[in-house]
Symmetry: C4
Subunit: 223 residues, 4 copies
C-alpha cells in the first residue's frame, strides 16, 4: 500500500512542479492585470469619499462649497498622487521580476489589501485630517503598505526572483528607498500626536525629495 | 417549404458549430479577464465594508477607534485572504482547461455570482460576527461558492474539458480538496448555532491545513 | 490662401483616414476590454443592492433574515443571470464583427449606458418588485438595452461591418431573436400595470425558451 | 571613496536608463489598460448617482417617478456621453504616441484624477443642476480635465513623443480643438452665474459642433 501512496505523492509533486513553472510563467501577466485592476478601482473609489452636499442654499458661493469640502479635496489629491505613484513603483518592481513564487504571491495579496484600504483611511483623513487620530490611521495604512513592499523587494532578492541584470540594483536602490519611505511614515505617527500638520508635511517631503531618496541613501552609504 | 426550413436549420447549426470552436477557443482569455475583473472589484469593495466613524472625539485614542472597528477589520482580513486564495485556485483551474462549453460557462457565471456576494456577507460578518446568524450567512455564501466550484471541476472532467496531461490530477487532487473545503463550510453551519467562535476557527483551519488537504485526502484514500 | 486651406483640409482628411483604419483595427481589443470592464463592474455592483440589516436580534433566525431580503435576493439572481447572458451575447456579436465605425461606437456607448443602469433598476426591483412601478422601470431599462442591441445588429449588417461568412446568419438569427426579446420586454410593460407577477414570469420565459427563439422565429418565417 | 560613489551613481543611471526605454516601451499597454480601467469604473459609477426612491406609493405613476429623477437622469445621460467621448479622444491620443516619459505619465495621472471626479460633480449636477453652483462645479471639473489634456498634447509635441507621421496633425488639429472645448467650459462658468440653463446649452453645443471644431479652427486660421 505504501507503494501506492508514494506513487500518489509523486504524481502530486509532478503535478505541482509542472504547474509551478507554467503557472508563474504564463500567468505572470494575469497577476499584473489583477493588481492593476485593484489599483484602478481603489483610485477611482477615492473620488466617492468627496461628500456631496445635501443641500445647496443659493446664498452659498462656489468658493464656500469648495472651502467646506477642503478636507475631502486635499485628501483626494494626496491619495490620488500616492496611489498613482505606488502603482508606478509596483509596476517597475514587477517588470524587474523574472519569476514568481507562492510566498511573493502572498505578499502581493497582502500588499493589495493595504492598497484597497486607502480609500477608507483617505476618507477618515478627509473628515478628520486636523486631528491626530485621522492622520495616524492614514500613516499606519501607508506604513503597512510600504513595509510589505520593502519585504517583497528583499524577499525577491533572496529568493533570486529578479532578472539577473537588475537584481543588484533593486537591492541597492529600490530596497533602501522604500525602507526610507516606510521610516518616514513610521516617524510621522508619533509626530502626529503632537502636530498633525507637521506629520502631513513629512509625507509631502517624500514626494518632493522622493525619487532622490535612493540617491541620498547611496551617497550616505558610500561616504 | 420544408426544404427551406431544413436549410435554415442547417445554416444555423453550422453557424453555431463554427462559433462554438471559435468562441471558446479565441474568447478564452476574455472569459478569464472577465472573471478576474469580478474578483478584483469584489476584493476592492471589501474595504468599503469598514465603516468610517461619524465623529472622532479627541478623547478617543487610535487604539479605541481600531478596537471599535475590530469586527470590520477582522472580516476584511479574512475575506481578503479568502478571495485572494479563491482567485488563485480559480486561475489554476482555468489554466488546466483546454476548452470550454456552454454549461461550464453557466457554472462560471454562477460561481462569480457567489464571489460578488462576498463583500455583502462579509459586511454582515463584520457587523454581527459574534452572532450565529452573521456567521451562518457567511458560511452559506462560501458553501454555495465552493460547491459550485467542485461541481465545475467534476463536470469539466466528465466533459473532457481539461488538458489530457492534468485531467487525472484535477480529478484526484483538486476535486477532493475542494469537496473537503465545501464540507468544512457545511459543517460550520450547525456548529455556528452553538458557537460562532468555533465555526470561525473551523474556517481558519482550512487555511492552516489548506494546501495539505489534497495530500491528507490522498493518504486516507490509499491507506 | 485658399490653397493653404485646401491643403490643411486634405491633411486633416488624410489624418482621419489613416486613423480610421488604424483605430478601429488595432483598437478593437480595447473597445471590447472597455465594454467587458463596464459589464464586470455593473455585475459586481449588483450585490451591493442587497441591503445589509441594521441590526440582527438574536430572536431572528437565518431563515427570517433571508425571507426579509427575498426581494433583494431574487432581483440579484435575476439581474446577475440577465447581465451574464447579455455579456455572452455582446461577446458573440463582437466576435462576428470585422470592423467598426463611429456610429457603431456610439451605439455601443449607448448600450453600455443601459448596462450600467441595471444595478439601479435592479435595486428598485428588489425593493418594489411586487408593485407595477418597480417592474415597469426594470422592463423599460431592458427594453432600451435590447432595442439598442437590435439596432446595432441591423446597422452592422447594413454598414457591412460583419465578417462575410457570418453576416447573413447574424441578420437571420441574432437580429430576429434580439427583436423578439425586446418585444417581450415591451409587452411586459402594459402587463405589469395589471399584474407585476405575470410580467416577471414573461421575462423568465425568455430564459427558458431563450436560445430557441431564433429557431422558432426561423420556423415561423419559412412555414 | 569618491570612486565608489561615482560607480554607484553610474550603476544607478544605467539602471534608470535601461528601465526608461523598457518601462515606457513594454509597459505602454499597461498604462493604457490602467487608464481604461479608471474610465470604465467612473462611467459605471455614474449610474449610482441616480437615487433610488425610499418608497413608491401606489398612487405615483411611472411617469411621476421618472419626472422626480429627471435631474439625475439628465446628468447621467450627459456625463455618460461626456466620459464616453473623452475615452475615445484619450484613446486616439495614446494611439498617436510613440513613447512616454515621466512628465506625461504625471499628466496622465492628473487627467485620470479629473476623470474619477466626474461621478461626484455629476451627482451634484443631478441634484442641483438648476442652480449656478451645481453647474459651475461641473464646468470646473471639465475645465480642469480638458486643460490637462490640452497641456498633454502640446507637451507631447514639444517632447517629440508622437509618432512622426501624426505629430504635426496632432498639434494642428487635436491641440486647438481641445483648447476650444476647454475655452467653452471656462466661458460657461461666468455664464452660469447669470443663467445655468444657457451654460448647460453651451456644453451641448460642443457635442453638436464637436468634431467640427478642429475644422472651423483650421479655417479661421488660414483665412
Amino acid at each position: 500500500m505504501n507503494d501506492r501512496l508514494a506513487e500518489a505523492r509523486e504524481a502530486r509533486d509532478r503535478y505541482r512542479g509542472v504547474r509551478h513553472r507554467d503557472e508563474w510563467g504564463l500567468e505572470f501577466s494575469r497577476i499584473v492585470a489583477f493588481s492593476d485592476g485593484v489599483f484602478a478601482i481603489a483610485i477611482t473609489l477615492l473620488a466617492l469619499t468627496i461628500e456631496v452636499p445635501k443641500d445647496l442654499p443659493a446664498s452659498k458661493s462656489v468658493g464656500d462649497v469648495l472651502w467646506d469640502r477642503r478636507g475631502d479635496l486635499i485628501a483626494y489629491g494626496v491619495s490620488f498622487a500616492v496611489l498613482g505613484r505606488l502603482w508606478l513603483t509596483h509596476h517597475r518592481f514587477f517588470s524587474s521580476l523574472e519569476r514568481f513564487d507562492g510566498a511573493l504571491m502572498g505578499l502581493n495579496i497582502l500588499y493589495l489589501a493595504w492598497v484597497a484600504m486607502v480609500p477608507v483611511t483617505s476618507d477618515v483623513l478627509g473628515d478628520f485630517g486636523e486631528q491626530s487620530t485621522g492622520v495616524i490611521l492614514y500613516a499606519a495604512n501607508l506604513l503597512g503598505l510600504t513595509t510589505t513592499f520593502a519585504i517583497s523587494i528583499y524577499y525577491s532578492y533572496r529568493a533570486r526572483l529578479f532578472k539577473p541584470q537588475v537584481a543588484e540594483m533593486e537591492r541597492r536602490f529600490a530596497g533602501p528607498s522604500t525602507t526610507v519611505i516606510a521610516a518616514v511614515f513610521a516617524l510621522s505617527i508619533p509626530v502626529a500626536i503632537v502636530s498633525p500638520e507637521v506629520a502631513t508635511a513629512m509625507w509631502l517631503s517624500i514626494f518632493l525629495v522622493g525619487w532622490r531618496a535612493g540617491d541620498i541613501f547611496a551617497r550616505l552609504r558610500y561616504r
